[in-house]
Every structure is written in structure tokens, then in C-alpha cells.
């Protein structure tokens, strides 16, 4: 009976093994730290803004920062990012202003960016449905002879969707340079991983698509970086897609509207919180002597300042023109579109 050897299921780790990643100098390590802090700060401030009624329902990504920052650092600027709602702020790492993402969560049209500008696709709300988009983009870039790769982020729950399956298979068949990045935080809202799949590991799915599948500790930003870098290199070299399963844990509610107490084991959550990804990396950098208090402080203040300016800018934005109801749907709108409009 076909099965994957169990050593394949071991998680790649860097931090806990106190390894170093080839080719990463102190500047790189600090850049990664900066990204982690920016994301963490974005997330924590957003929860506060939500409580203050300044943004709408918000999907928290606390303890997911290592997966996002680690993987993005392995990309080149030409590479495309396809985020789900869980990676709503990943564009910050590509220069999208915090105010833009805050606008998105404020239901303001200014929250929508031009994907081509930063090579960050629109935030995908319906689970797994962006995987075929990313496959098509990666395939299309390859057809053009470009060296760009694409990365699609999705959760453990997404692997149950037909769209994920069709996209993964397309990527494999077309040998598209796509990284299928699975954030396995072990929950899909209230549904635990064992009610989602019987696979021993989600990375085993790769075998059925004929693509490499790897598993990393999703709380280890350097392991994520390293695994993604390999996948990017493979894709750029014509080796097709890679499935990365990053194993972590959703240590916060699914979203601000969710109350996990009815379904989650709070002790486990506390345990995971103690091992959260930013602190782990920070301790590692301090062990290495790359980070000192002053630098850490400065980076955190920068991030806070970015958020302060972001929310101020978002709140300073005038209320949107209702005419935007009609503006962006068609290049050549059909006549009669405004039938019944009272504007």
C-alpha cells in the first residue's frame, strides 16, 4: 500500500537546531526581523482598531507572521504573491501602504490595489479559489519566457476544496513555477485538522500531483525562508511547482467575530502562544548577537509609527463616492447599467 516514508514528515527547522542559513547575512536577518515586526504590529493594532470600531471584521494572523515573512523574503520582486484573507497585510512587505490594507478592512474602495503594481494579487476571500489563478499566472509567465514565479497562500482547510485540487494539478501538468504554500494552522474556523483530512501530512498531497512536497516548522521563519528559497529556485530552473506545508497553530481567534472558547483547548493555545514565532526568532537573533535592545526598539517603533500613520491616513480619506458602485466592473459598461440609480 502506497505511503510516504515517515521521516519525510519531519519538520524542517533552523532556529531550534540553532543552525544558520547559507547566504543570509546579518542585514538579511534583520530585514526578516523587520518584516516580522511589521506584520505583528499590523495585526495587533488591527485588533485594537477593530475594538475601537475603526475597522470592520478582521481576520487575525497572529503567529502566522513567520510563514508570511519567511516565504516573501525568498522571492524576487518580479515574483507574484496570491494571498488569502489570512495574508491580507502581506503586501506591506512589498511596499503597499498600511492605509490601503486598513481601507480594505474598512470596506473602502481605496483598499483595492492594482495587483500588477506590486505583483500582489487581490486578497482572496473564497477559500482555495485563487490557487488556479496563481497556477495560471505562473504558467503564463513561463510561456512568456519570464523567470518570475508565483506563490499562493492557503490554509489547511483549503486543501479540501476542489479549486485547490484543480489549481495544483494544472500547475503540475503545465510545470508552472508555482509555490503552493499551505499555512497549516490546524484549524479551519472551528474545524480541526483531523476533521478536514485523513492524510498523515498535508505535504503528502504533493505526491498525488507529482510535485515535491516539503514540511517545515511554520513558526520558524528561517526554515520557511530556506524551504521557499529552494522551491523558488526549482521553479525558476524549470522544475515546476512545489507544495510547502508549514505547520503552525492558530493561537488567536479565526477573526474578530469568532469566539474559539466553544471549540478550542485553551491550554493548548496558551502553550502555542508561549512558543510564538516572533519571540522565537528574536531570541535566536539575540543568541547570534545580531539584535540588540536598541535595534529591536527602533524596529518596533518604526512599525508602530507605520501603523499610526496608516490608520491616520485611512481615516483622513474622504468617504467614497457612491458612483464607484458602477465604476470598475467593466471596461466598456453595457448601456442601462445605472437603471434605477438615484445618484
Amino acid at each position: 500500500m502506497a505511503r510516504v516514508a515517515s521521516e519525510e514528515h519531519e519538520l524542517r527547522r533552523v532556529i531550534d537546531e540553532d543552525r544558520e542559513v547559507d547566504g543570509l547575512g546579518a542585514d538579511d536577518l534583520l530585514a526578516i526581523y523587520r518584516s516580522l515586526i511589521l506584520l505583528r504590529t499590523y495585526d495587533e493594532r488591527s485588533v485594537v482598531y477593530h475594538r475601537q470600531g475603526r475597522i470592520g471584521t478582521y481576520a487575525i494572523f497572529w503567529n502566522h507572521e513567520a510563514m508570511q515573512a519567511g516565504s516573501v523574503h525568498a522571492l524576487a520582486d518580479e515574483d507574484w504573491i496570491f494571498p488569502s484573507y489570512r495574508e491580507s497585510a502581506i503586501g506591506l512587505l512589498r511596499g503597499i501602504p498600511a492605509s490601503t490594507v486598513l481601507h480594505w478592512w474598512r470596506g473602502h474602495p481605496a483598499g483595492w490595489w492594482n495587483p500588477a503594481e506590486h505583483r500582489v494579487a487581490s486578497i482572496c476571500v473564497p477559500i482555495g479559489t485563487h490557487v488556479p489563478h496563481a497556477a495560471g499566472l505562473a504558467w503564463g509567465e513561463k510561456l512568456k519566457g519570464s523567470s518570475a514565479v508565483a506563490i499562493a497562500y492557503f490554509g489547511d482547510g483549503a486543501t479540501s476544496e476542489g479549486a485547490f485540487h484543480e489549481g495544483a494539478n494544472f500547475a503540475a501538468v503545465m510545470q508552472a513555477p508555482l509555490i503552493l504554500f499551505c499555512n497549516n494552522n490546524q484549524w479551519a474556523i472551528s474545524t480541526p485538522l483531523e476533521a478536514q483530512t485523513r492524510a498523515e501530512a498535508l505535504s503528502d498531497k504533493a505526491v498525488g500531483y507529482g510535485m515535491p512536497g516539503v514540511r517545515v516548522d511554520g513558526g520558524d521563519v528561517l526554515a520557511v525562508y530556506e524551504a521557499t528559497r529552494e522551491a523558488v529556485e526549482r521553479g525558476r530552473a524549470g522544475g515546476g511547482p512545489t507544495f510547502i506545508e508549514a505547520v503552525s497553530y492558530r493561537a488567536a481567534p479565526h477573526a474578530t467575530a469568532d469566539d474559539p472558547r466553544v471549540y478550542i483547548d485553551l491550554d493548548r493555545v496558551e502553550e502555542e502562544k508561549r512558543n510564538e514565532c516572533v519571540g522565537r526568532y528574536e531570541a535566536y537573533l539575540r543568541r547570534l548577537g545580531v539584535l540588540d535592545d536598541a535595534t529591536a526598539e527602533e524596529i518596533k517603533n518604526d512599525a508602530l509609527e507605520t501603523m499610526r500613520r496608516g490608520i491616520a491616513a485611512a481615516e483622513a480619506e474622504p468617504e467614497p463616492d457612491p458612483e464607484l458602485v458602477f465604476d470598475n466592473a467593466y471596461v466598456l459598461p453595457p448601456p442601462g447599467l445605472r437603471e434605477g440609480w438615484d445618484g
Binding site: P126, I127, S160, A188, T191, D321
Partner: protein
């Protein structure tokens, strides 16, 4: 009778029906451990066990497709789609199989399944949490469609859908899930499919609506108080449709405005207008007017109120008709 929110009435119906019929099971994403993201299925897993209130994998076509097989094994599945727009992955199963399987068996088997979901806009949510997909469902042969607008009807129509031997899609207006508490009959309560409700009687103009738009029409009627006597017809079920009630009201007032949140083109409002154009042409004192959403993606929520049919737009249409 207790006062309940609409979503609580849904929950009540599920409790009553699961207790009544052992072959009934509820399934969907987060319906079990969490009791549903709107808590429509709260308490069911605790009371009826994890086999009769099942947290499924995250796969809408898998949910509806396996529900077909469950029917063949003698179960009556009540499937939840977490939100309107997240039901689209199940459209293939619905169109290809749910509406056709009985026909395919030469009428020998029954597929008494229910698909229920919160639907509609106005709730300040990220995109794709706001759609009104009823036209996709009602255009699909073999499928029935019910849409309550009050807590009591939410309970009664869901019970009717559950007991109906054919597949029924029940769309629950999430905007008024916790809008206003109203009296809901205790215990078994069934509102037969196919009977419209005269939400308000009047003689000058009829407002035809369903779901959350019924309240908009009622408020429009209030606004027109003094200027015109307004009838509000709550369709309650789109298939079977209470054509008699529609035609009777059109015959009485001679003026009809149809209101729907969904995009305009080929929405259910068009069907209502078409029926009137076919069967009430001599009764009409003026055009049949539609107040609808637009043929564009449901907008960013900061401006969603301008997309949704408003009291003003409905009043405007009614006035136009009255002055015709």
C-alpha cells in the same frame, strides 16, 4: 409563544425537526463544534450527537454531493452553506444532480434534502458575504426555493422545506438575522411552501418582495401613508410561487413595484414582471417597475447602502407609478 430573532427561529426549527425525524441530519462547515458562524445550529451537536450534526470538510460541492448519497441511504440532510457566495462551488452539484436525480430514477427515488444559507447584503462584511443568489437557484429545474422575512416564517418555511419530499433551497436574510424579535410558535410549526403573505393590505399600489426587502417595502409603505394605500406582498417562496396572490393583488391595485437586492438582469423580479406582463396586462394602470441591485459586483461596504434598494428608491418608484 416566545419572542425570537430570525436566526433563533431557524435554530428552533432545526431542534424541533431533528427531534421529530430520526433520519434528519444537519451538515456543513462549522455547524457542529461551533454551532454555526451565526449560531443557527447551536446546541444541535450536543443534543443529537456528532453524527446528526456534522462538521464537514471545507468543500461545498462535497457537502451537497455527499448529501445526495445520504438521501439514497435514507437520510434527509439539511446542508448549510456558510454564506451566499460560498454556495457557488455547489452550483454544479445542484444543477447537474440535485434537481435531476429523482427524474433520472424515473420518479422512483426521493431527494428530500435542504440547502440553507444566510444571504444578502447590508452587513458591513468583506466581499462575497453579501450576495443574493436566488435567481441561480430558482432557474434550476427540480429545485424549490423559499425565503422567509420574519422569525415565524423562518421557522415554518424551514420546517416545510425539511418535510418537503423535493430538494429545497432556503435563503435566510442575514441582515435581519438579529433584526427584531418576534413571536414564534413553539414546537412544530409549518408554513406551507407556495403561499404568499400579505404583509400589508392596500388598494393603490402593490410592493412585491421577499427576504429583507419586505421590511424596506413596509417602511416605504409607512412613508407613503396618507399619499397612497400600499399593499406589501411577501412572496415567501419563489418556487412554488403563489401566482394567485400576485395576480389578485395586481388586479386590485393595478400598480406593481417589484423589489430585489440581486443584480437586475434576469433576476427573480424579472420573472414577476414577466408573469404580470403575461397575465395581468389588462389590470395594469402603468408599467411594472423594478427596484433592484445593479449588474455590478456587490460593492465595497462603505457604499453598499447605495447599492441596496432603499426606502427612497422604493417610494420613488411607487410615486412614479401613482403619477403615471
Amino acid at each position: 409563544m416566545a419572542e425570537k430573532f430570525l436566526v433563533e427561529a431557524v435554530n428552533d426549527a432545526l431542534h424541533v425537526e431533528l427531534a421529530r425525524d430520526e433520519t434528519l441530519m444537519v451538515m456543513g462547515e462549522d455547524v457542529g463544534r461551533a454551532g454555526g458562524v451565526f449560531r443557527a445550529t447551536a446546541g444541535l451537536r450536543e443534543r443529537f450527537g456528532e453524527n446528526r450534526c456534522v462538521d464537514t470538510p471545507l468543500a461545498e460541492a462535497g457537502i451537497l454531493g455527499s448529501a445526495i448519497g445520504l438521501c439514497m441511504a435514507g437520510w434527509r440532510p439539511v446542508c448549510e452553506m456558510q454564506y451566499d457566495a460560498f454556495s457557488y462551488p455547489c452550483l454544479d452539484q445542484l444543477i447537474t444532480h440535485v434537481g435531476r436525480y429523482r427524474w433520472r430514477t424515473g420518479g422512483k427515488m426521493e431527494f428530500p434534502l435542504v440547502v440553507r444559507m444566510p444571504y444578502g447584503g447590508g452587513v458591513r462584511a468583506p466581499e462575497l458575504h453579501d450576495d443574493s443568489p436566488e435567481a441561480y437557484y430558482v432557474h434550476t429545474p427540480g429545485v424549490k426555493v423559499a425565503i422567509p422575512s420574519t422569525p415565524a416564517d423562518a421557522k415554518g418555511l424551514l420546517a416545510a422545506a425539511i418535510r418537503d419530499p423535493d430538494p429545497v433551497v432556503v435563503l435566510e436574510p442575514k441582515l435581519i438575522y438579529r433584526g427584531e424579535k418576534q413571536e414564534v410558535p413553539e414546537g412544530e410549526h409549518v408554513v406551507p411552501l407556495g403561499q404568499a403573505r400579505l404583509a400589508r393590505e392596500g388598494t393603490d399600489v402593490t410592493l412585491v418582495a421577499y427576504g429583507a426587502m419586505v421590511r424596506v417595502c413596509e417602511r416605504a409603505a409607512d412613508e407613503l401613508e396618507g399619499a397612497a394605500s400600499v399593499e406589501v406582498l411577501d412572496l415567501r417562496s419563489l418556487r412554488p410561487l403563489d401566482e394567485d396572490a400576485l395576480l389578485a393583488s395586481a388586479a386590485k391595485t393595478g400598480r406593481v413595484v417589484v423589489v430585489q437586492e440581486a443584480p437586475r438582469t434576469a433576476g427573480f423580479g424579472a420573472e414577476i414582471a414577466a408573469i404580470l406582463a403575461e397575465k395581468a396586462i389588462l389590470d395594469l394602470h402603468g408599467p411594472v417597475l423594478r427596484v433592484t441591485g445593479f449588474d455590478v459586483p456587490y460593492p465595497y461596504w462603505k457604499i453598499e447602502d447605495r447599492y441596496m434598494p432603499s426606502v427612497e428608491r422604493v417610494v420613488g418608484a411607487a410615486r412614479k407609478l401613482l403619477e403615471f
